[in-house]
Every structure is written in structure tokens, then in C-alpha cells.
Symmetry: C2
DNA sequence: TTGTACGCGTTATCAA
DNA sequence: TTGATAACGCGTACAA
């Protein structure tokens, strides 16, 4: 039925004995077209079940109404919530969001960005992968002339808008909370990666210790990836080497969980003997036993902020100075760290 | 720099004193162009940093090289793994995948499909929302002439390829396993929704009971949504009403978890007093205590199958009869149901 | 207020 | 083997 042929503005024009331009203008609500004509056009458009061809119009005016959103892993609650936030805002502007994942891999990241540029998205929103070292592919996006916004994992030296949470503050709050619970020997799980978010969390940790007069023991700062397995290994090593510790502040919820598993398997009481705080507020943190305290990063808010920055950039010229937006995180206290109930 | 102007095939043509057609054909590796010319063109293309304009080519030949993938919720591990599977296959065909979520809401689903058609995707892959009752919007996709593939949650009466897992088998295996663990009074959590997947799981449950000579007690079959909260409520009611039961087979992992929480809060031992099996094999099922047995649906495989069906449909004509592919699930036995260790 | 004419970048068809 | 031309559907100066 419908397949027969696509209805175009020309079909409408013919039926009404006007030209395609008139139809085009009417549909775009051009002020220099009489209301009467507009109404006739709209009516006929509906009658013929006209659907504008967005490809043609994209070709014509160079805007696809599509935003490319690139995240490391979409099944991390943090990132899927960001997607949600971005979509909510985009919808209001009649924009579509296309999502890709880098799977924490630089090559995939490059491919995805290329695909975005190829699709001619009107803007790119990126959280870089953990393995991203050089940034030439991001530079390419900037040079292509479309807005680029980075979020969460930022790259200060890049000339682009950035949205991050105050990781320093998150680390500071988490550590302070543990100190207030009476902990003195606080282990910190971070990553070996050169990502500012982890450095900042570490800075917050160190400063909180200093402020409260607790000595920083570098042997308690452990690096690895942020998988569950890494947390398990850390905990196993701590036990094997008889390290003295009474708390863990992990920059990743997954690591925190892994460590907690091992500690429990060894009969260590959480939070009485070891208190634990994670980071990201993944949903599972409230499912575990005990539930895990964690730092909420307000990802939906972040997604909305990122999207809004894009639409700002779309309107204002590109010569504006890059903006940096910082969102305040919040420590959610659960059973794993609460000693005084 | 790069912004100056986009390089087109005409620019290349001019530099080489040939026409745009020759350039186009060379780039597309048309056999009727001399190798020498091809080489010159490719070299010049590289030199000028030419990027093909996919919009123009989409307009010209009616293919965008984009697949629209619509899932209810992307942060369910099941669905994000499907995305992964689809992407893997699509990549090999030089296709892009754009993902949208319906958030289990019919209106969003309609919007998303409209957006897909508007973007002129070459095909649509959908898992319908729980609230989807009428299917006119899906019919619209079919009539638009592009391939539509449904997965997981299928609609038998729709003329479209479908990929599902054998939910009946999953239900049957799970229930049989519980019976083998000595359970006789097995509660089943399902949903009130008119979704075939849940009906099938229930059928499997019922048949397994029958086969093993266990009476089916309809008062043990409980309907609700598949959220954690629903599982909690179910369990609370079971306890409050003093219902006699020694196992739960939940069609949802989240419900299973909710129920387990409540049972444990009431000092009931899992699996000794109540054994539990969930469905979907969400990652958190191995994080809980005890870990939760669940049915693996092999979502990555499903994603790949769905994508391959799309590419099949793209080649063969549309008049082929709709295919239905069934994937076999597998029960993963964990602590929550294993009594004989 | 509306029409004319052209171009966005690519590719298919026909001709040479 | 290559060139010329038209067309995909839309939008916009310019003209009327």
C-alpha cells in the first residue's frame, strides 16, 4: 500500500497548483506565506500522508538533527543514566541521539567517532575510554567544526566543553566519613590509568587524611582496573601480607564489592572490622549484604547538562571559550561503613 | 583549518582532469575503470583528505546504512548484551546501529519508531515494551517496506521475522531443578502482562509440575511487575498469609532478589527452607548472598542472530515468509537453589 | 505573497 | 574506459 511511492512536496504542490517552494515554505512556517495557503498545504500534506525526507533536508542545510553519544560501556548504570539524561533534553529539541560504546578500548573509540562524523552528526558527546592516551581523534572532531563535549572523564588540555563531577570532593567526603567512623588505616583502591577522575579521588582521599591528622601510608594505595576481580585480588593480597587496615575507600563499586566478598569469606566483619565505601552508586550496592556505601554522581543530571551545553554551542559561535561544568557528588551512607547505628 | 570547505568528488575530479563520475566509480571500485585511474583517484582523495558524504549518497541510493534498535531498557544486562551482539555483526557489514529505549512505555515506543523511520534507517529491530497492546505502529514499519525483526518479546500474529528464546524450556528446566531439590510447593512469580515470554515460562512451570506429579496450586502463582519491589511485596504477602511454600521460581531476577531479601529478613534460610530460581542471569545474581540460580538467555547470541536476520532480509526479497528462530536457554545453578552440595 | 532557478554531493543511465 | 546529464527531495536567493 504505502510502499507505492514516497510523497514529496512536489506531489502536494501539484495537487494545489502551487510550486514546491510554496509548499516547502508553508511546511516550515515561513512568515511570508499567507495563512490560507499554509492551511491548504498542511491539510493536503496530511491527506497524502506526507513525511518530510530528513535526508534531503540534511543534505540541503547541513544539519542531521542527530547527536552522537559515545560511552565506554553502556551497561554501567552510571552511563546508561547519562544516556537517559541526554535523551530527555534532546527530545525537547527534536534531536535524536545515537549511542555507541568504546568498550574501554581506544581503537573502538576512534572507529565510533569516525562513524559519527561519517553519519554527519551535529555534535559529539564523549566520555573517553580508560585506554585513551593520544587525543588526535578528538582533535579531529573539534576541527570538523561540530561541537564536542566531554563528560566525566575529561581531558583538560582539549579545547572543548567539559562536564565532570567534583571527584576530589567525592573522595574527600568518603574518606572523612570513614575517619569519623573511627577508621585510621584506610586502604584506597585507584587505577593505574592516567585518568583525572581517579587522580582527583585520590587527592580528596589524601587531603582528608591530612586534614584529620591521619598519616598517609602509600602502601595502602593500590592500583588496578576497576573490575570485581581486581578488588578480590587486592583484598587477598592485603590479607596474605598481613597488612593492617580497618577501612577501604574504593574508587570503583565493583572493586569494593570484590574486596568485600573476600573479606567476608575470611570471616572479617563489615563494617565492624573493615568499613567500606565505593564510588558510583551502582544499583547493586544496595543489593549486597551488607549494602555498600557509595558516592552518587548524579548521572541523569550530568547527561542533561551535557546535552544543554551542546545546544548552547549549537547557537553561539564556536569561538567562545570552552566551559567547564562541575557537578557536586554526594556520599550515600549504607551498612558497609556505618558503625554507629 | 579543516573547516575551510568539505572536499567533494568534484574537487578530486578537477585536480585530475576527469569527471565526477569517474571519481565516483573509482571510489566505489567499479570494474569498468582502469586500475591506473583508480590509483590516481585514491591517491588524490587521500591527499585532499576527502571524506565521502554519506548523506548525499543516502539521498541518492536510498540506503542510510543505519539500523534502528529499540529496547525497553538499556540498563538491563540482557538488553545491553543484545546491543553488543547486534553491533558486532553490523560492524562487519559497515552498518551503524542507533539504539533507543522505550522505557517500557508504548508512547515512547511509537515515538522512537517514528524517529527511526524519519531518520530513514534501513531496518528496525525491536523488543516491544510490556505495555504494548496494539501493534499498528509496528505494522507501519512493515508497510514502510524496510525489514522489521522482533526479538525476545515477540508478537506471533505480526508478519515479521522473530527471534526468541525457548521460554517454555527455561521454565521447565528451572521448575524441574527445584523439584529435584525436593521442593513440592513451588511459588511462581509471573506478570499480569500479555507477553508471550511470561506465558511460556508459566507453561514450562506447569508442565514440569505435571510431569513430576506435583499438583499445580494456582494460589501459588503470583502476578506483578518485574521490579525488586514487586518481589518484596509477594514475599511479604506469602508470609503474612501463612502460605505454605518451599521454593520460588521467578520469571524475573529482580523479583527473585526482592523476595529473597524479605525471606532473609524474616530469618528464613535460603535454600534450605526456600529455594529460589530467577530468570535472565543478570550479573547481580552472582553478587548476592546466597548467589541466585537463574536462566541464561544468551543475549549476545540473540543479538547476533537478530542482526544476521536483518542482513538476510536486506538481500532476499520481502515476500519471503517470516522466519522464527528459537534459542535454547540454560539454567545456571547457584547457591539459592542448591540443597545437596 | 508566490514563483523561478539552482545547488547540496552522489550515483545511475545513456552515450561516446 | 570515460564523459555528460539528470535525479534523489528539499530550501533559499532572487525576481516578480
Amino acid at each position: 500500500m504505502n510502499k507505492s511511492k514516497k510523497v514529496t512536496i512536489h506531489d502536494i504542490a501539484k495537487r494545489l497548483n502551487v510550486t514546491a517552494s510554496t509548499v516547502s515554505r508553508s511546511l516550515n512556517n515561513n512568515p511570508r506565506i499567507s495563512d490560507k495557503t499554509k492551511k491548504r498545504v498542511l491539510k493536503m500534506a496530511k491527506e497524502l500522508n506526507y513525511k518530510p525526507n530528513s535526508i534531503a533536508s540534511a543534505l540541503r542545510n547541513g544539519k542531521t538533527q542527530i547527536i552522537g553519544l559515545l560511552v565506554p560501556l553502556i551497561d554501567r548504570a552510571f552511563f546508561s543514566s547519562i544516556v537517559r539524561g541526554v535523551e530527555q533534553v534532546a527530545e525537547g529539541f527534536n534531536y535524536h541521539v545515537i549511542v555507541s560504546q568504546s568498550y574501554e578500548n581506544l581503537e573502538n573509540e576512534k572507529k565510533a567517532l569516525k562513524a559519527f562524523l561519517n553519519t554527519q552528526v551535529d555534535g559529539v558527546l564523549v566520555s573517553i575510554s580508560k585506554t585513551t592516551t593520544d587525543i588526535s581523534h578528538l582533535q579531529d572532531v573539534v576541527e570538523s567544526g561540530i561541537p564536542l563535549i566531554l563528560f566525566d572523564r575529561s581531558i583538560p588540555q582539549l579545547q572543548a566543553d567539559q562536564v565532570v563531577i567534583d571527584d576530589y570532593q567525592g573522595g574527600y567526603e568518603a574518606t572523612t566519613h570513614l575517619i569519623e567512623q573511627g577508621c585510621k588505616r584506610i586502604v584506597h583502591f585507584t587505577t593505574g590509568r592516567d585518568l583525572s577522575i581517579y587522580k582527583e579521588r585520590y587527592r580528596g582521599y589524601a587531603d582528608a587524611l591530612a586534614y584529620h591528622g591521619v598519616a598517609l601510608d602509600e602502601s595502602l594505595v593500590l592500583s588496578a582496573n576497576s573490575q570485581l576481580e581486581d578488588g578480590r585480588k587486592h583484598a587477598e593480597n592485603l590479607l596474605k601480607n598481613n597488612i593492617d587496615f580497618d577501612a577501604i575507600f574504593s574508587a570503583s563499586d565493583f572493586c569494593a564489592l570484590g574486596a568485600m566478598q573476600v573479606l567476608k569469606e575470611n570471616g572479617i566483619k563489615i563494617p565492624e572490622e573493615v568499613a567500606i565505601v565505593g564510588f558510583s552508586n551502582e544499583p547493586f550496592t544496595s543489593f549486597t549484604e551488607p549494602s555498600i556505601s557509595s558516592v552518587n554522581q548524579y548521572p541523569i543530571e550530568m547527561g542533561k547538562t551535557v546535552a544543554n551545553l551542546f545546544f548552547d554551542a549549537l547557537n553561539t559561535g564556536k569561538d567562545v571559550l570552552p566551559k567547564k561544568t562541575v557537578i557536586q557528588p554526594k556520599l550515600i551512607i549504607r551498612e558497609s561503613s556505618l558503625r554507629n547505628k
